[in-house]
């Protein structure tokens, strides 16, 4: 248990999947965050009502906002609506941006708030449209295509994410998926850094614990366990030889 706890806490230090603490060093999709121009002329012009500047900001960061909304909303079909609402809020509030935080942090905070508001509103109304979650039946036959398998795993993973509390899911998405540093997350969610780390730890632990409830993920765990066991079993032989 001690070792797994350490593993959950030291995620950042672990190899290629570790989200770097500094968003500027992010790879892949998260790297786009680094292009957020901090406190630059564009932001100040947009804050003064320059529509062209705001359009430029919109075009520069719409993908970042969309990605975050998509990851936080999960399977919802409301991504486009929420993205639009987020930008409306950004427009309304940008004049209040005081450069006390980086623009990227502020933008994420606005987006997170809009998503959380949307989720709260969605909870309070009858859901007449959501199809029941696609049940992934256990299929022991080999998957025909790795892409299909990956898609099924992501579906299942999304379902698990939705079961986390808002606070834990927000921190998990921001840190592990978006690669935002804990100090920035603390600003975004308005909580101490220590609290952010605690939420992250418990989010990971809960996700790991829930995996057996999703057949696709349980199969992945079993596969990794088997490969780990066989590797361990092979190790003495290789040492002998």
């Amino acid at each position: 248990m001690q070792s797994s706890r350490a593993a959950l806490e030291s995620w950042v230090a672990v190899g290629r999947v570790a989200p770097p603490a500094d968003p500027r060093r992010l790879r892949g999709s998260g790297a786009r965050l680094a292009r957020v121009t901090e406190g630059d002329d564009l932001v100040s012009r947009a804050a003064q009502g320059d529509e062209r500047a705001f359009r430029a900001l919109f075009r520069a960061h719409r993908s970042d906002v969309t990605r975050l909304v998509h990851r936080m909303l999960g399977r919802s079909n409301d991504v486009e609506d929420v993205v639009q609402e987020a930008w409306v809020q950004v427009h309304r509030c940008i004049k209040d941006f005081r450069y006390q935080a980086r623009f990227s942090t502020w933008l994420y905070r606005v987006t997170v708030n809009v998503v959380l508001m949307h989720r709260r509103a969605a909870r309070s109304r009858p859901t007449l449209v959501e199809a029941p979650p696609t049940l992934v039946t256990r299929d022991r036959a080999p998957l025909p295509d790795e892409q299909v398998a990956r898609g099924a795993r992501l579906e299942a993973f999304t379902r698990l994410l939705e079961r986390l509390s808002e606070k834990k899911r927000t921190v998990f998405v921001l840190h592990d998926l978006e690669g935002v540093a804990p100090t920035d997350i603390a600003e975004i969610v308005g909580a101490p850094v220590l609290t952010v780390r605690t939420r992250l730890f418990y989010a990971r632990r809960e996700l790991a614990a829930m995996m057996h409830e999703e057949p696709t993920l349980a199969a992945l765990v079993a596969e990794l366990e088997a490969s780990g066991s066989s590797a361990a079993a092979r190790r003495p032989e290789s040492e002998v030889t």
Partner: protein, 374 residues
């Protein structure tokens, strides 16, 4: 290797896969269009300095498409009254007696000479600019708005559940119609509103589409300053505040009671009476849900009836349905995003006439997601 360790490895792998998963591709052009131009009252187009540039672009595009402005019922020479100068507002009149309002674009100005000018906008409103009056179309979008610079305008608005489908602004005072016949007259530094039929909300013009302030019910007359404040008494029946039906929609898009209405201004013995004290402050939650279900059922029925589908073809749509419950229990301002077809919208508005909710003092705003299938 323990099972727990395998789970952690699996979680790392999943996290990595989720990080690499592509984001949904949105229709950026459409989104940008909606944000910047389509709903000026709600969104970004309130940035007025730059908005003029976009309006000019729209004007240029409209001019190309329409090939000019058609006049209705007037002499052939009347179109020449329009001064079409690129990058400049077009001016109509004072020769014209009738104008096709659908051909007007934002920034167009209408002047009346010795005779009134009648501007017809089919399906929306007909407005008449009194002799020697001057008005400018300042919003040609969803919340069509005409600014009255001089004189008087009489308006007959086609009843609609959509909020503020037509409004007149005088200075910074906004008179927003909710299915109405009314007249607005600019008299120096005040606006005089005469309401013959329906309801208007009069308030500051800052928020198009969500006018807050004083609600007049017909028949009544009232005077207002040019910044939206009521001057003296409004002669007419008491009116509940429409704020309750408007506020809160922005922050809480759920079935929540709307924001606290502004207390009625007490101006002595003649102040308008308080709303019926026997009414609950907000509708009962259970009744709200029941009513909301009924509204959704009616809209579904209209969708089913008003949507043509070839045999064997299933049509489905997912919409976010918003509407206000007025203190009287009537449904108002029914909007859907994405919008319903005109037939379905019209059917829904027809079906939703009359009180569907219990009367309350503050009303409510309700948003629901609806899955329509045919």
């Amino acid at each position: 290797m323990s099972n727990e360790s395998a789970r952690i490895r699996a979680l790392r792998q999943l996290t990595e896969e989720a990080r690499q998963a592509p984001s949904p591709k949105l229709d950026w052009d459409a989104l940008e269009e909606r944000l910047f131009t389509a709903e000026p009252g709600l969104t970004l187009a309130r940035v007025t300095p730059s908005r003029a540039r976009w309006a000019l672009l729209a004007a240029a595009a409209a001019a190309v498409v329409a090939g000019g402005v058609g006049l209705r019922g007037g002499a052939p020479s009347q179109p020449s009254a329009a001064v079409s100068e690129p990058n400049h507002p077009r001016v109509f009149g004072p020769a014209g007696a009738a104008l096709d309002g659908a051909a007007l674009i934002e920034g167009d100005r209408v002047l009346a000479g010795d005779a009134p000018v009648v501007v017809s906008e089919p399906g929306r409103a007909t407005w008449t600019l009194a002799p020697h009056g001057s008005a400018t179309l300042v919003d040609a979008g969803r919340f069509r708005t005409v600014r009255l610079e001089a004189g008087a305008i009489s308006v007959a608005v086609v009843p609609k559940l959509a909020p503020e489908s037509f409004a007149i602004e005088v200075g910074h005072t906004r008179v927003a119609a909710h299915g109405t016949r009314f007249t607005v007259k600019r008299a120096g530094e005040r606006a005089e509103v005469t309401l013959e039929e329906g309801v208007v909300a009069v308030g500051a013009s800052a928020d198009r589409g969500r006018t807050r302030g004083f609600v007049m019910r017909a028949p009544s007359t009232g005077r207002f300053s040019l910044d939206g404040a009521k001057l003296g008494e409004v002669n007419g029946p008491p009116a509940d505040s429409l704020e309750a039906a408007r506020a809160g929609a922005e922050d809480e898009r759920a079935a929540t009671p709307a924001a606290t209405p502004r207390p009625p201004k007490s101006t002595g013995p003649s102040a308008r009476p308080e709303p019926d004290a026997a009414r609950p402050d907000v509708p009962d939650a259970v009744a709200l849900e029941r009513g909301a279900a009924r509204v959704m059922a009616l809209v579904e029925e209209c969708f089913s009836k008003g949507t043509a589908a070839p045999r064997g073809v299933a049509i489905s749509a997912r919409v976010s349905l918003s509407f206000s419950v007025l203190p009287s229990g009537e449904v108002a301002a029914l909007t859907a995003e994405p919008p319903l077809s005109p037939e379905v919208q019209a059917c829904s508005e027809r079906e939703l006439s009359g009180p569907l909710f219990a009367a309350s003092r503050r009303g409510a705003t309700i948003t629901r997601t609806l899955h329509l299938a045919r």
